[in-house]
């Protein structure tokens, strides 16, 4: 029986860490509701070891015990784990193009992947970090990059669900959001003013590959007033950079 004070995940026990990760992996594979006994059988670990591991992972919130008290599911915290590990590399030339734009506009510049209906930061501005991927992914209607993604869909509902209000200016009515996405499609630019955070506005342009498929979004961000007052020459700089990226990321 484990005493509450033992630390099976001490640095001296790499096997325990491997087992813990295997447990996470197996829960992901088996799907929510898998029981400790099933995990023990599937992984060939002894029941006592399995119980200790799942209870530790529950204690640290990487796993969640479901209401029937028998089954387990992955916890939200797993995303944080992923956030620390996944930083997808982009071609050096693309990074250079983004850096060039950063030096020429006095705004935060972010590059995000928009492949397969999913928003993930590829090159967030190190000096002015954007909202985390998790927040952006869950509130696609509130960010300019998210609006680019939604504008690609005939129906945004499967991707977004219910639009949640984050600030007083977040678009929360389906018909307003429909009109906004219509504008994005027509102008090929998405904007948001204080809809994700009251003090932040953003403008994003799509990056498309040769066949016109949306692969990424290039965003400039600053205070809502400054984003609203962007001059045509600045907008042309952003557009040129997006065109350069289209060939580099395709």
């Amino acid at each position: 029986m484990p005493s509450p004070d033992d630390h099976p995940l001490a640095g001296r026990q790499p096997a325990a860490i491997r087992s813990a990760l295997t447990v996470l992996e197996e829960v992901a594979r088996a799907g929510p509701g898998v029981t400790a006994r099933e995990l023990s059988t599937a992984l060939g670990l002894s029941p006592a070891t399995t119980y200790r591991l799942v209870n530790l992972l529950v204690a640290e919130e990487y796993l969640v015990r479901l209401p029937d008290l028998r089954g387990f599911a992955l916890g939200r915290k797993v995303v944080e784990l992923a956030g620390a590990v996944t930083s997808p590399a982009i071609p050096a030339a693309a990074a250079a193009a983004v850096a060039e734009l950063r030096s020429r506009v006095r705004l935060a510049v972010h590059l995000a992947s928009l492949r397969r209906g999913r928003l993930r930061m590829l090159d967030p501005d190190p000096d002015h970090p954007p909202s985390t991927d998790g927040v952006l992914a869950r509130h696609l209607h509130a960010s300019a990059l998210g609006k680019l993604l939604l504008a690609e869909e005939d129906d945004w509902r499967p991707l977004l669900g219910e639009p949640r209000p984050l600030t007083a200016r977040t678009l929360r009515r389906p018909d307003t959001l429909d009109r906004e996405l219509e504008t994005v499609r027509a102008e090929r630019v998405a904007r948001q003013f204080g809809e994700l955070r009251p003090d932040r506005g953003c403008l994003a342009m799509p990056v498309r590959d040769g066949s016109g498929v949306l692969v990424a979004g290039l965003a400039v961000s600053g205070s809502p007033d400054r984003v609203a007052a962007l001059t045509p020459p600045t907008l042309r700089l952003v557009e040129t950079c997006a065109e350069t990226l289209a060939t580099l990321l395709a």
Binding site: E25, G31, R70, L74, G75
Partner: protein, 485 residues
């Protein structure tokens, strides 16, 4: 293994994460239960558990125990600590898996069913309720004692001033408990730390300078052993009260199991230290007593007793709250304050014990010391009953969820045997020294609870089946909320 794009290895875990990142927003459900969910850090949870044990009076009792049994006090304390640590291990098995404001009440209902669960709840209410009343009476006496020792007021005639102080403390306690768990737990931490420091200072000074008392001979017979063991067990019960905050605690499945195991171990060590210090002090020639020492001790004890009353009240209102939510007690008890997120109706229901009792004793002109003694015995018996039930529930619970091991079962069986023995020993001793009324009172209380539940089961069986309400994960806790419906 976490690379989803660009790399070759796409694992199930990486897929799940990527899927979650692209998933649409979920409507977060309102926090269940209306309590201030997952916001309390580990230290206040520990303070809650420690405060209900009330280490300062326990240390004074441990020191006093040496006068009766001499050096044998240390092994007796060790034995009691071992027994309570066993219970701590059993309770941790539940605390690692369930977060519930009803603590043992909910745990037992998950292992042995609603009837046993409800009995445990009644035992807990009796235990915490009598602790609230007893500690407030004690704190009232100590406050007056401190003011007298410090020379602020002359020694009062009769127990009127102490009872008035008790009623005032009871009012303050209720207000703080309603105001919010973070406020009351924070204050508990402060009071408890100050009180242990004060009593430890007094004991160390006594050890260094010598005390006027002399240690008893290290002899032991059955009656003496029972009495000493009872004192030590009495001093240690209450550590499970940390479980009552498991809904409000951040990372409850990590914090609460540690708290319920380490609280009895840590407090037991403090008691052994107190006994050792007393033995050292007794061995030295007595020095003239320091003038400020009695006042310091009185103040330390007053703050510890007040913290204990508050901790016990925090725990009992959460048991009542859970029963109210399930509809096995008046529904109003399950109401939480909109702003403070505390069970304020349940706190109001405790006012008769906290404020009414001292006022009643005052009007009747009765001294409170005898009443305190009864309440203390009632609390110990009720705690041991609840511990016995939770130990009996552990193995069936683990079997039910398919996580039983031979080790866990062995610990639960051992704990059950030890608790049944201790309960029989203490009940037997009480019957023979003229306090059988207290044993009868607890038995009557539990019988009344049982009758109430059976009546309820006949009329509204769905309510009784609802027993066992606990904090379920919200969509925000899960990576894939929509798949777990």
């Amino acid at each position: 293994m976490f690379r989803a794009e660009g790399g070759g290895t796409i694992s199930a875990l990486a897929d799940a994460i990527a899927d979650a990142l692209s998933r649409p927003a979920e409507q977060g459900s309102a926090p269940r239960g209306g309590l201030d969910r997952r916001r309390l850090s580990a230290l206040p949870v520990a303070a809650q558990a420690v405060s209900v044990v009330a280490p300062s009076p326990g240390m004074m009792n441990a020191a006093a125990m040496t006068a009766a049994v001499g050096a044998a006090a240390v092994p007796v304390i060790g034995l009691a600590t071992l027994a309570m640590a066993l219970v701590g291990l059993v309770v941790a098995q539940f605390a690692r898996r369930i977060a519930a404001a009803g603590s043992l009440y909910t745990y037992v209902s998950k292992g042995l069913g609603p009837v046993a669960g409800f009995l445990t709840g009644c035992a807990l209410i009796a235990a915490y309720g009598s602790l609230v009343a007893m500690c407030l009476l004690g704190a009232g006496r100590r406050v007056v004692g401190f003011l007298t020792a410090a020379g602020v007021v002359p020694a009062p005639q009769g127990s009127g001033p102490a009872l008035l102080a008790t009623a005032l403390l009871g009012t303050a306690m209720t207000a703080i408990v309603v105001r919010g768990i973070r406020v009351s737990a924070g204050l508990t931490l402060l009071l408890e730390a100050a009180s242990v420091l004060a009593v430890l200072t007094a004991l160390v000074l006594g050890a260094v300078r010598g005390t006027a008392t002399t240690a008893g001979p290290s002899t032991m017979d059955a009656a003496l052993f029972t009495a000493a063991l009872m004192t030590a067990v009495k001093a240690l019960v209450g550590f499970e009260s940390g479980c009552a905050l498991s809904v409000e605690a951040r990372k409850p499945f990590s914090v609460v199991p540690r708290v319920v195991f380490w609280t009895p171990v840590g407090c037991g060590a403090l008691f052994a230290l107190a006994a050792l210090l007393a033995l050292v002090g007794d061995a030295r020639p007595a020095a003239p007593p320091l003038p400020f020492l009695p006042a310091l001790v009185q103040l330390g004890l007053a703050s510890s007793l007040f913290a204990c009353a508050m901790g016990a009240n925090n725990a009992v209102v959460r048991v009542l709250f859970s029963m109210g939510r399930e509809g096995v007690a008046p529904r109003a008890l399950g109401r939480a304050h909109v702003r403070y997120r505390t069970p304020y109706v349940a706190a109001g229901a405790m006012v008769p014990f906290a404020v009414g009792l001292p006022l009643l004793l005052w009007t009747l002109g009765r001294p409170s010391a005898r009443v305190s003694e009864w309440l203390g015995l009632l609390a110990v018996l009720a705690f041991l009953t609840a511990y016995l039930l939770v130990s009996l529930a552990a193995a069936p619970f683990l079997r039910r969820i398919g996580e039983h091991t031979a080790g866990a079962t062995a610990v639960a069986v051992l704990a059950s045997a030890v608790l049944a023995g201790a309960l029989a020993l203490i009940a037997h001793a009480s019957l023979y020294d003229g306090r059988g009324g207290v044993v009868a009172a607890l038995a009557a209380l539990l019988a009344a609870g049982l009758l109430w539940l059976l009546r309820l089961r006949r009329r509204t069986p769905h309510r009784v089946r609802a027993i066992g309400y606990f904090d379920e994960p919200t969509p925000d806790d899960l990576l894939h909320p929509h798949r777990t419906e």
